[in-house]
Every structure is written in C-alpha cells, then in structure tokens.
C-alpha cells in the first residue's frame, strides 16, 4: 500500500501535467482571433506526418529489362527441334499404284485385281453418260475455273448443279464447295461462334473435329451412336440453365460414320432435338445416293421430312463419283454461307467438268433406281459370307455400304493391331488379287474408335467378286490370326 501510493501520485501528476499541456491556452498563440489549444498543435503535427508519408514513393524492386547482349546470348543458345521427326526404319510407306480407273476391277501394280477400296457405291466410275458430259464440259470450259465464286469463278454449270441437287433433295437451295472435306470444316465455323454449345458424337471424322475446333464453341461429346448418352447430355446442358435459351445450340452427327460404319438413328435424334430445341447438322457424305428408297439419304430412309434437318452437308466423292461437296438447308442457311463460309469465299470454285459430272450422276440415279437395289443385295451377300471369318467380326450396320471388320481379340496395342491388319491386306492383295484397305489414322485425329479393315461395297460388284473376297479373306485371316482366336 505504501509502495502503490507514490506510483499513483506520480502517474496522476504526469496525467495532470499532460492534460494541462493539452488544455493550456498558449499565451501568445492567437491566430485570426482563434485560440490555438495545445491539442490542435499535436493533431496538426500528426496530419503533417501522415501527409509526408503518403507523398513518399513506395519501395519497388527495380525492373531490369534484358539488354541487347543478353537477348543475343539467348538467341544463340536456343536450339529448335527439327521440323519433322526422322524416318523410322521399316515404316510402311508404299501405297499401291493404280494404272486404270478405280472401278470394281482395276489394275494395281501391273496386275488386275478386284477392287474393294474405292467408295464407288453406285458403280458410276467409267459410266459412259458421265464421261461424255465431262468431255463436253472440258472442251467448252477447260479444266479449272481460275477464280473464287465471287470473282467470275461462278460458271453456269455450278448454278445448274446447285439447283439440281436442291430439287433432288427437296430443299429450297444448295451451295457447292470445291473439295469434299472442306465442306464440313467451313460450314461449322460459319454458323457456330464462340459461346455456342455443340453436342457431337465422339466418332466423327477428322474434318468435323477440325470444324468444331475452328468454331471456338463449347463442344461436348457423347458416346458413339448411343442415344441414351445423347439424351442425358442434352438434359444436363439445358436443365436449370436459363441462359441456354439465348445461345445457339447444335447437334453434329454423321449419317454413316466412316470410322465405324454405324448409322445414326435420325428419328430419335429429331425427337430429342425438338424436345430440347437444338439444331441438327448432318454430315451425309456416305449416305447420299445410298440410303433411302430413291437414294435421297438418311431422311428418306427414316421417313423424316427434310425440313426438320437444319443443315445437311455431303461430299460428292463417294456415290456420285465426282469431287467437291455441297451443303443444303433453308434459304437463310444457304445465303449466309455465300459471304461468311471461308472455304467458299476464299477458295477457287469447283472445276466445271466435275460439276457437270455431278449433274449427270444425279440424273442417272433418278432414271435408274435399280442400282440401289443392286447395292443393297451386294451388302447383304457380303454380310452373309463374312459372318464366319476367323478372328474378325463385322461391326458396322447391316445397311451400311462401308463394311467394317475389326479384330475379335486385340493384339495388345493399336500399332500391333494395325500391323496384323496391314499384313492381312498385303497378303490378300499379293496372293488372291483382291484390293482391300485398313482404316488409317493421322496423329492429329482425336477419335478413339478401334481401327479395322474397311470394305467399300459397290453396285458394280458381281457375286463372284464377293465370293472371291470372302474366300480369300477367310483363308488369310485364318493363317495370320491363328494365335488370336
């Protein structure tokens, strides 16, 4: 107690002195008639210190840009990769060389073979009428059209061909492209922009994948040809998403997938599209001129009215035995492409003789619908004969003109599988003179479907051709795949 008292006394004395200092009026400090109290001075000093600190520059570590000498050193040190990897030893590089037209019988490397490697579905290669119209066109117009469509490259046969195809399919208008695969990878970026949603099958071929990549939209893949997967993907994308109604939405499918030979169930897709309000882009390269009672494609095959499909594209290098591609749809769809589709605007137009070949081919198909039934019976016969091939099974649809054979048991890795299949193809060609091919993949292709042997059936094949093929295939695969049953 007696220790605390002096401390208390001392602190109270200090406090009294401080408060006196605060409250003591400075005798001579009267500025403009205002008494300057002590606390004002302290506050003024505090404000001055704060302002002083604010005006100081904050400390940043100094930036040192690279000097010219340092950049020179970096440039000298930098070692780029070679432009391409070195040639691997033993890589298969020779493709068979054809010496005649690629019809059902052709001459490969000097000897006559049965040809199952050309997508000549209607057997129109070598057709007299088509060749005559091409000769007339060559004599009148020359070979090339020497300009894009906008700059005097539009020749009257192009306009006639577009009108003919539109009339054949029953759509208002169509537009011609000069190359088969450039059709789809120009159409998709013309309609799908950044921010749109595209639902695509995972088995689409490289040109479609490239178009999807160039369009910069959000792409969601669904399981190959699986309608339940498609329905659940569509449900997931639209449920609870109010904004989904303002952005454009597309479903991209192929009618006959060239990576597997499956056929897309169009009636189911149209039902889903109308339920969830999506637009459909249908790639019909392998089904135009093949499916349907009169060859008008997948819509006729399923009995779906053609107006329900928003955009149809097809390459003409298959059933029509010419080159180039077309796209068809409503008037708005076709007109929009004439200015904003890069493969149409920035590229030279289709050579006129190929356009007249297309017109003659469509005319021939309209006049002779019996070739379609020839094709169908050939496909059915091939399925029957190849159903018991040792080691290989048919994995394509029963109506598809691409008959896809894959290995029953994989050899372990894709390269080993490819090796086996290539051996089979080489031996079939060398020993029995039947020309077949495997499905080849580029390393830029993202499709994960298994590879196999692709047989392209034509209406021009005879029954003996098909039995030659099946006998040869069964024999060779029995010997090559004897370890893999």
């Amino acid at each position: 107690m007696d220790m605390a008292l002096p401390v208390v006394n001392a602190t109270s004395a200090v406090l009294a002195r401080v408060s006196a200092a605060f409250n003591a009026p400075l005798a001579r400090a009267v500025v403009f008639g205002v008494h300057i109290d002590g606390h004002l001075v302290v506050e003024g000093l505090l404000i001055a210190v704060i302002v002083f600190q604010l005006t100081r520059k904050s400390y940043k570590p100094p930036k040192k840009p690279l000097t010219e000498k340092e950049i020179d050193e970096l440039c000298d040190d930098w070692k780029p990769e070679p432009l391409c990897p070195p040639i691997k030893e033993g890589a298969r590089i020779d493709t068979p060389m054809l010496e005649s037209a690629a019809g059902p019988h052709t001459i490969v490397d000097g000897k006559e073979v049965v040809n199952f490697a050309s997508a000549n579905y209607l057997g129109l290669i070598g057709n007299e009428k088509i060749i005559d119209s091409c000769v007339g066109s060559l004599e009148k117009y020359g070979v090339g059209s020497c300009g894009p469509r906008g700059f005097y490259g539009t020749i009257d046969v192009h306009l006639d061909c577009e009108a003919k195809i539109a009339k054949f399919l029953g759509t208002p208008d169509s537009i011609l492209y000069s190359y088969g695969i450039s059709t789809i990878f120009s159409v998709i970026p013309a309609f799908c922009k950044k921010g749109d949603i595209i639902v695509a099958d995972e088995g689409v071929h490289w040109a479609v994948q490239n178009g999807l990549h160039l369009s910069r939209s959000t792409v969601v893949y669904f399981k190959h040809n699986d309608m339940a997967s498609l329905a659940s993907t569509l449900e997931k994308l639209t449920r609870g998403n109010k904004r989904a109604e303002k952005i454009r939405r597309y479903i991209v499918v192929e009618s006959i997938y060239q990576n597997s030979g499956q056929i897309a169930p169009l009636d189911e897709i149209v039902r889903l599209k109308e339920k969830y309000r999506f637009r459909v882009i249908l790639e019909e390269s392998h089904s135009f001129g093949v499916l349907g009672k009169s060859g008008r494609g997948l819509a006729e095959h399923y009995g779906v009215p053609i107006e329900k499909i928003d955009i149809i594209t097809a390459g003409m290098g298959n059933a029509l035995a010419t080159d180039g591609g077309f796209c068809t749809g409503s008037v708005r769809v076709v007109d929009h492409q004439r200015l904003s589709s890069s493969g149409y605007v920035f590229s030279a137009s289709l050579p006129p003789y190929l356009a007249s070949a297309a017109i003659s081919a469509v005319n021939y198909l309209e006049e002779n619908p019996s070739i379609l039934s020839n094709l169908r019976s050939n496909i059915a016969l091939l399925h029957k004969e190849l159903s018991d091939t040792p080691g290989l099974e048919i994995s394509s649809h029963a109506l598809s003109p691409i008959v896809f054979l894959k290995l029953k048991k994989s050899a372990g890795s894709p390269t080993a599988d490819l090796d086996l299949l290539e051996t089979i193809a080489e031996r079939v060609l060398k020993e029995d003179s039947v020309f077949i091919v495997t499905s080849k993949k580029s390393n830029l292709d993202r499709c994960k479907l298994p590879i196999g042997i692709r047989l392209f059936v034509s209406a021009g094949h005879t029954e003996s051709d098909i039995s030659t093929l099946s006998k040869s295939l069964k024999r060779v695969s029995a010997s090559v795949l004897s370890d893999y049953f």
């Binding site: 440039c75 930098w78 780029p80 432009l83 391409c84 990897p85 590089i93 493709t95 054809l98 005649s100 037209a101 690629a102 019809g103 050309s118 997508a119 290669i125 060749i131 091409c134 060559l138 004599e139 117009y141 020359g142 070979v143 090339g144 059209s145 020497c146 469509r149 005097y152 539009t154 020749i155 695969i181 309609f191 071929h205 490289w206 040109a207 490239n210 990549h213 160039l214 109604e245 309000r277 637009r279 390459g315 290098g317 035995a321 010419t322 080159d323 708005r332 929009h336 200015l339 904003s340 890069s342 493969g343 920035f346 050579p351 190929l354 091919v437 080849k440 580029s442 390393n443 830029l444």
Partner: protein, 490 residues
Amino acid sequence: MVRLPYSTALTTLFSYGLLFAFGHLRDFFRRIIDSRKPTTNLKDYAPICLGHEDFYTRRLFNRVQDCCNRPIASAPDAWIDVIERYSNDGNKTIHRTSKTSRCLNLGSYNYLGFAAADEYCTPRVIESLKKYSASTCSVRVDGGNTKLHIELEELVARFVGKPAAILLGMGYATNSTIIPALIGKGGLIISDSLNHNSIVNGARGSGAAVRVFQHNNIAHLEEVLREQIAQGQPRTHRPWNKIIVIVEGIYSMEGELCKLPEVISVCKKYKAYTYLDEAHSIGAIGKSGRGVCDLLGVDPADVDIMMGTFTKSFGSCGGYIAASKEIIHHLKQTCPAHIYATSMSPPAVQQVISAIKVILGEDGTNRGAKKLAQIRENSNFFRSELKKMGFEVLGDNDSPVMPIMLYNPAKIPSFSRECLRLNVAAVVVAFPATPLLLSRARICISASHTREDLIKGLEVLSKAGDVSGIKYFPVEQEKTTAVEKLKKIQ
C-alpha cells in the same frame, strides 16, 4: 504503299457513317414492323444470325450485290460471256436471264492462259479422263494413288527445285491441313499481317501461338523474333519448340512481292524455319516461271517448305508442298488431307503435268517461254499506262496483279457497273477482304491478252475512272508538257 489523302479519308468515313446510320434506321423500323407480325414456328430457338452479326451483309453488301458473284457461260479465258442478271426488288434477289454479253476478262487468275481448251493439254486431259474417269472415289493412301499422281509429284519437285513433293486436291485445304501437321502446341508461328485466310485458319487449327509482323517490314520481323526467343512461351517462359515464319510470294490484294532474300537471312540467323506460299507467283513470274525464288535469285534449298497451288497459272485445281524427303515422308504419314480426303481428280492432274511440260519446253515447242515473256511484257505495259493515266496503282514491277485504289464506297458499284456496261469484266474488292477504308479494284493480267485487248481495256478503265473520279494523281502527260513549257520559258 497506299497513300491515302486526308480529304479522301474524310469523305470515305463520312460515306460509311451515312450508310451505317441509314442501315441502323432501317433495322429499327424493321424490328418495329416485325414485332407486330405473328412469329414463325422457330420460337425458342436462338436465331441463326444475331442481328448485328450480319448487319454488314444485309445493309451494305446487298446494295451492291450485283457487282459480285457474276456468273459466266464460257471458259474463263481472255474474253468471257458474262450472264446478264436483273433484280426487281432493289438487289435483294437477283435472277438470271439467258442473255450473255461478251466482255474482256480482267478478273480471272489465268496468268499463263491455260484456262480454256489448249492445243497440247486438252487432248491429253480427255485421254486421261477416259482412262481413269473423273474421280478415284478413294483417299490417296487407300486406292486413290494413280500413276499420274506419282508422276506429277516428281515433276513438281523437279520444277520447283526441291527433292520431293506431296500433292493435295485443294489449295485452301493444303494450308489449313499442313500447318497443323508441322507444328503444334509449344511452337510459334510468325506470319505476315496480310497473309491469306487459309494460312490464318491453318495457324489457328494447329494450336501453336501466333504472332504477326508488319507487312514486308524486315526490321519488325527481326524485333518480333528476338523478343519471342528471349521471352519464350507466355507465362511459363519455357523456350519455344520451333518457330515457323510464313510469308507469301505475291500478296494478292497488294500485288507486291515479298522481300524474300532478307526474310531468309533473318530466319537463318535466328534458326527459324521458313514457309513460302507461292499461290499466285508459281508459274507466273521469274525467267523460267519458277516463281519468286527464280525472280529474286534465292536458292530453293534455303526455303524449308514451299507451297503452291495449281489454280492460277496452270489452269487446274489443287495444291502441293515441296520440301526435303524427310518432311514429305512425315507429311504423308500425318497430313489429314492426304489420309482422309478424296485424291485429286486424274484429269486435273494430267492438266498440270501438261502445263508444266509446256512451261519447261518439254513438249517440243517454245510456247512456254513465249507465254512467260508475254505476261511480263503485258503486266509492265499495263501498269505503266495506268500510272500515266493518273490512277493509284499498287504492286511491284513484273507482278501480274494490279490493284487500283477506289476508297469511297459509292465508287465501288459505279466503277464496276460502268466497266460492265462498256464490256470489261473487272473485279472490285471491299471489306472484309481489305481494310474498311481501302477498297480497290483488282486487275489480273493474262498471257492470253493481246496488245489490242490491253489497249481496249485501258480505254474502258480510263472512261470508267473518269465517271467514278478515281484518278487521284495528276495525269503524267500534262506534267511533262508543263515541264517542257517551263523549259521553253527559261
């Protein structure tokens, strides 16, 4: 180089501003009228084109639609039959008639005159058509590889001066599928700012980073190279895998040649690869027609990859890439257009083989050398005469492409329609192929134009130029007479 006078820039901007204002006004009224009409059955679907995306098409381009997409009814030779068209509703829809008018063709890419039926090429083309038919219906790696394709690849490699070549069926697809096969993520593409759309698409599709350097500005190219090599990839600063510099031989909208020797020396110094796109220059320039390397004296071995098309000088279709054997082998394994696209049509292949043989003189005549001399003479004569008349003409000497500047939007249709009325088919180009203010008319000279054709063309262009008011420079004859008068006075 384009020299845009201030007064012209102001008037052009004013014209475009007026057109945009009217366009928006009409859109506004259209929206009001449409909101009263009942909706069609496409409700709940977002429209295929949102309103502002095709504003330019609907309101500006449709007014002058008749100047583009003119159909012809003959081969695209020196004289063509342009089909007459009419419109009843102010150019919204255009209809064909069956009448044609014979016009001088100053628009097609027919540099050596192989467009129409040729005495050496056409019989051979028809023979190959009868032998191989119009298409092989198969991809090149499957059953589409014919003797003709192999022959053409060897011939192209020999013509261009490289060890090997690969053939593809379309020039546009060549660029957009080869570039992704050569370079991918982690690589850098440096391309000229005026490169063609196919190169831009190929660069985007490859996944590599893209930087642009100012057109033909070598100092800027070097600056970009140094900066990019020093900085490396963005954010991680890892070094780039490889760098490819892409330039074109002749830029089709400018008519200029690229500065190839300087580009090669810069790329060699910094170890970047060069890719030369010779779409317009192969076959058209150079003493023996071998393109810009021939003209500027560059050794083809210095350019890593040479690309070209057959559409312009050879009168066919398709494209090629010529490079070393390893690169071509690699491309044959990976290029998607080689593996997935139908192989080039055999008659078109035969046309190129015959055309190259004519150019090299291997057909036994000297028609090739005559054609090359003719096109050089024609281009230089035409360009100098146009300049004398007071037009603003772009492009270098020896280049067969001549853009004439128009600038104002109203001069585009007036020049085009006046030329057509006087039987000359000219091409006019505006936005989006060129910058908005720099619209132009483009002349392409051919070896099949005779001196009389050119003189007639010059007369018509002069009259149309007077009507449209595009002679921005003083006429040279007046300048020389004024100088002579001054000399006399002195």
